[in-house]
Amino acid sequence: MKDDLILEVNNLCKEFGSHQVIRCLSFEIRSGNRVALFAPSGSGKTTLIRILAGLEPPTSGNINLRGPKPVIIFQEPRLFPYLTVEENIWLPFRLHQISPSAEMKREYQQWLEVCELTHCTDQYPYQLSGGMKQKTALIRGLLGRPAFVLMDEPFHSIGPVSKTAIINHIKETNPQMTAIFTTHNLEEIPLLAQSVLFFKANHLSFPANLSVQHFQSLFSESVFHPQAIGSSIAS
C-alpha cells in the first residue's frame, strides 16, 4: 500500500526560539484521503500547514512529498485588492499561462453559482463581505480540480448553508482530491473528512489517526471536551 502514499512526515519538529510548537510529529497521507487536522487553537496547526506548503522550514525531521505540489488555501483570503473577483480567481491560471478550456469555464460558472458569487465577478475585494472573500479564495484554490490541497480553516467565515453546499460540490466534482484541512469546528469534520488527525495537547505531537465515526463517538462520550477525548484515546 506504499504506492498510494502522497505525503510522509517523519519526526517533524518546529521551534520558535525556546517554544516548541511541533514535537516529533509523524504521519502519512494516502492519495484520495481527506484528512481533518483537529487540535486546540494555538497548538500549531497553521505552522504545520505552512511547513507542508514550504513556507516555513522545519527545525528537524523530514517531509516526503510524493504526489503533486499541493494547492494552499489560507485562513485569510489573500486576494489582490486591485483585481476583481474574476481576475483573482483566474490569477493562478494566468500566471502559469494556462488558457482556460470550455470545461474549466463551465466549472468556474458552477462554482460561482454554488458560492452565490455570480453577481459580483466584477467587484473588487473591498466591496465584498468576509464570507464572500473567503469563497473567492476557495474557488481560486479549487478551480481546475487540484489533486492535493492544503487548507487552513478554509470555511471559518462561511455560513453553514454555504459551507455544506461548497463541501458537497467539492465531493461531487473532485472526489479523488487529497486534502488536509485544519479546523476547530466539529461540524466540518463529518462533512468533508474521511479521517481525523487528532492532537490532544497544546502542541502537535503523536496524533491519533481516527476514522470520522470513531472520532465522533469519542466526542459524544466526552461531552465536548478535547482533553477528555485525549485521555480516552490514550487509555
Partner: protein, 253 residues
C-alpha cells in the same frame, strides 16, 4: 469620465489651495503698503509689462532645471527606496537619508557653486540632493506597507521574481510614486529658487533675487505666483494621469 474632464476636475481641486493663499495674501495686503505687500490685483495689473520674451527664456530655464533635478531625485530616491526594501537594508538607508536631510541647502549651494561655478549645475544638483532623501524615505515607508501575505501566496504558486514584483511590489509602489511626484515637485520648485539665488545668472530664482534686491515687491510676488501656478499645473496633470490610468490601485484598506 473623460481624461479632459478628470484634468479639469483635478485642476479645480488643486486650485483651491492657491485661491486660499491668494485670499489670505489679499487680506494681509490690506494692512501693509504696496511696496511691502502688493495686493494680488496690483500684481495682476502689472503682469503685461513682465510677460516678455526675456521672461519666457528665464521661465524655460527654470522649468528645465526643476525637471532635470527632480528626475534625478525621483529616479535615485525611488530606486534606492525600492532597493533598500528588496535587500532588507531599510534601516541604514533610512538613517543615511535622514543625515542627508539635515545638511542646510545654503551651505550645499555654496559648495556646489565653488565646485561647478555659475550655471545650471548648482540649481540642478541642489534640487536633486535636497529632494532625494524625502523621496527615498517616502518610498521605504510605502514599500513597508506592501502585502507580505500576498507575496507568500505567490510563492506557493511558484511565481517568478518578476511576477512577484508585478503583482506585489509595483502595485504597492503606485501610491508611493504619486506622493513622490507631488512631494518632490513642490520641494524641487522651492529648492530651484535657492539654487538660482546662489549659483546662477538666469532663471526665475535669479529674477526673484534681483527684484528682491531692488525692493520691487510686485515683481517678487509675480514670480512667486508663477512658481505656484507651475506647481499647480504639474499637480493637476499628475493627479489626472493617476486617476485615469491607475485608479484601481487606490482602494480602501
Amino acid at each position: 469620465m473623460k481624461p479632459s474632464r478628470i484634468f479639469i476636475s483635478s485642476l479645480l481641486n488643486e486650485a483651491f489651495g492657491v485661491l486660499l493663499i491668494i485670499a489670505v495674501w489679499e487680506g494681509v495686503s490690506l494692512f501693509y503698503p504696496s511696496y511691502i505687500i502688493p495686493s494680488p490685483a496690483a500684481v495682476v495689473t502689472g503682469i503685461s509689462a513682465l510677460l516678455t520674451v526675456d521672461f519666457a527664456h528665464h521661465l524655460w530655464i527654470t522649468a528645465c532645471r526643476i525637471i532635470a533635478g527632480f528626475l534625478i531625485a525621483f529616479g535615485i530616491g525611488t530606486l534606492s527606496g525600492v532597493a533598500a526594501a528588496v535587500m532588507k537594508i531599510t534601516k541604514p538607508v533610512n538613517s543615511l537619508m535622514v543625515a542627508l536631510q539635515v545638511v542646510p541647502g545654503t551651505i550645499l549651494g555654496v559648495v556646489f557653486l565653488l565646485m561647478f561655478g555659475i550655471g545650471s549645475s548648482t540649481p540642478i544638483l541642489l534640487v536633486a540632493v535636497l529632494t532625494l532623501p524625502t523621496l527615498a524615505i517616502n518610498t521605504i515607508n510605502g514599500m513597508a506597507k506592501r502585502n507580505i501575505a500576498q507575496e507568500e501566496y505567490l510563492k506557493t504558486l511558484q511565481c517568478s521574481r518578476w511576477q512577484v514584483a508585478r503583482l506585489s511590489y509595483i502595485p504597492a509602489l503606485i501610491p508611493v510614486l504619486q506622493s513622490n511626484l507631488s512631494l518632490g515637485m513642490s520641494m524641487a520648485v522651492k529648492v530651484v529658487v535657492l539654487g538660482e539665488f546662489i549659483g546662477s545668472q538666469d532663471g526665475l530664482g535669479y529674477l526673484l533675487n534681483h527684484a528682491r534686491i531692488m525692493f520691487n515687491m510686485k515683481e517678487v510676488f509675480f514670480y512667486l505666483l508663477v512658481l505656484m501656478l507651475f506647481t499647480l499645473l504639474f499637480q493637476a496633470l499628475q493627479s489626472s494621469v493617476f486617476s485615469t490610468f491607475l485608479r484601481k490601485y487606490y482602494f480602501p484598506e
